[in-house]
């Protein structure tokens, strides 16, 4: 699990102010600082500290996979042997076409899958080839799997401002 990291109220306000994106002005950190009543250097120092602590995974462009031509965005789900899922999860998460990979609980009878990996293909054939690659990597440790494509995005907002800070899409 993640290492706990102490965040103060200012860090939390900063997370809230930056998770929807940095403003496209020459001095974006200064603009955020002004909104929060901080100094620009303080904003950069806090972000740098959070990055070093791993609270910020990266700072950069968040691509829109769909618009970049990745039309087949599939949630692949796998029923993987509990004794081996930790090591295999790391391996699946490291595949270049996997954007997110999580261990989640399974519910016997209704939901057998404990490993989730998001794949992105230009079309379904490519996403299916990626799923086949995951399947091969999991080998005998995997009993079953499926791909669930999103067929309609009903609501996709960034994490909203003005509310308590929220985490990424991991859930």
């Amino acid at each position: 699990m993640s290492t706990p990291c102490l965040l103060d109220a200012t860090d939390r306000a900063l997370i809230e102010a930056t998770q929807a994106g940095l403003p496209l002005v020459p001095d974006p950190y200064g603009a955020i600082a002004a909104d929060l009543g901080l100094a620009a250097e303080d904003v950069r120092a806090r972000m740098s500290r959070m990055q070093a602590a791993g609270v910020i995974r990266r700072i950069g462009v968040v691509p829109n996979h769909y618009r970049l031509g990745y039309r087949a965005n599939g949630m692949t789900v796998w029923d993987v042997d509990d004794a081996r899922v930790m090591a295999l999860g790391e391996a699946v998460g490291a595949l270049p076409f996997v954007s997110h990979c999580y261990l989640r609980p399974r519910f016997p009878e209704v939901w057998p899958y404990n490993l989730f990996a998001m794949v992105h293909g230009h079309d379904r054939a490519e996403a299916e080839a990626q799923a086949a690659e995951i399947r091969a990597l999991l080998g005998e440790a995997c009993r079953a799997g499926e791909i669930l494509y999103s067929t309609k995005i009903l609501k996709k907002t960034g994490l909203r401002l003005g509310r308590a800070p929220a985490a990424g899409q991991g859930g």
Binding site: L7, P26, P28, M86, G93, H100, L148
Partner: protein, 151 residues
């Protein structure tokens, strides 16, 4: 470098290590040998017009702040729109997708300041729709989300 080359280069270089400098767009511009304005304009076009990028900013580690949970509802086809709309009214719901599964058709993420708030939303969705609800909180994250190869 023309505009489309610049956009492609920016998508490539700015996925990680976006500079934490007083003028980050200028830092990138200097690295690529173009003007600061050109970089800001390219990012603005990619964000607002082309929608090639959803934002430029920090990607926070899942679970750092707040409590979230992936959930799936078994919604019959004929009430999917109505149920999706109802689920979408909760401000704590930040992703709401229809997925093509024979049973679990509506997938969404609930995020609240703490687990009590998160569970209260899930309880309300379950009670008010009267539908089976799967609660799939993250147990472990394996990905590093260090950016995505754009080929």
């Amino acid at each position: 470098m023309d505009t489309s080359d610049l956009k492609a280069r920016l998508l490539e270089v700015a996925q990680r290590d976006f500079p934490l400098t007083p003028r980050p767009y200028k830092t990138l511009a200097d690295r690529l040998g173009v003007a600061e304005d050109a970089v800001i304009t390219a990012f603005r076009e990619m964000t607002l017009d082309d929608e090639l990028i959803s934002r430029i900013g920090a990607v926070y580690r899942t679970g750092t702040v707040g409590a979230s949970c992936l959930a799936a509802l078994a919604v019959p086809e004929n009430s999917l729109e109505k149920t999706a709309e109802f689920v979408g009214t909760f401000p704590e719901v930040n992703h709401n997708y229809r997925r093509d599964h024979p049973h679990w058709t509506l997938w969404f993420v609930v995020t609240a300041p703490d687990t009590a708030g998160r569970d209260a939303v899930l309880d309300r969705v379950e009670a008010e729709t009267g539908l089976p609800l799967l609660r799939l909180p993250m147990v472990e994250a394996y990905h590093l989300d260090l950016g995505f190869p754009l080929r």
